[in-house]
Amino acid sequence: AQSVTQLDSQVPVFEEAPVELRCNYSSSVSVYLFWYVQYPNQGLQLLLKYLSGSTLVESINGFEAEFNKSQTSFHLRKPSVHISDTAEYFCAVSDPYQAGTALIFGKGTTLSVSS
């Protein structure tokens, strides 16, 4: 079965600093990869996804993630974070060969941005 490991449970950073949230997945076959963000007491929102094609995917708010098949990783990065980026971030994986397959989530990384 597929699994996702988020290597850092908490990442504290200062405003305007760069950040990387690490994610590794277990599958050796093709996968779809996602990053979701969750603000306090809210549901999850899709941040970005990798399905195929370019290994570098970007979100509208400055985050990017790079799919690395050889390292089975999908790390999330932002060159300069804002206070408003403080949230819980979840990496997720799904099987591209099964229609409507559910996502399998990692345990999450808490990003705390301070001034």
Binding site: V4, G43, P96
Partner: protein
């Protein structure tokens, strides 16, 4: 903007009582998911529906949990009797993705937070 609606947002109950959560997915979304998110952890799938049919309920504790989606639209998740370990956020999500190789985005509701005393 279309949203996934869930109610109640918060529920406090005593152990051994029954609780129910309701979810109304985005109109036209055939796939509906119930996830459980324990504090400090990622969401874990409880049950997945395709229209009114259960696709996957392998992680649903069927001795106390039940889920239904009778008309293939809204859905109810029930716990009876509730136990202390059931305290969690219950998230509903919906998707239009039905085609292999073309996953639909999962849209999540704001969740129902359950506290069992």
């Amino acid at each position: 903007e279309a949203e996934v609606a869930q109610s109640p947002r918060y529920k406090i109950t005593e152990k051994s009582q029954a609780v129910a959560f309701w979810c109304d997915p985005i109109s036209g979304h055939a796939t509906l998911y119930w996830y459980r998110q324990i504090l400090g952890q990622g969401p874990e799938l409880l049950v997945q529906f395709q229209d009114e049919s259960v696709v996957d309920d392998s992680q649903l504790p069927k001795d106390r949990f039940s889920a239904e989606r009778l008309k293939g639209v809204d859905s109810t998740l029930k716990i009876q009797p509730a136990e202390l370990g059931d305290s969690a956020m219950y998230l509903c999500a919906s998707s239009s993705g039905l085609v292999v190789g073309k996953p639909g985005e999962l849209f999540f509701g704001e969740g129902s937070r359950l506290t069992v005393l």
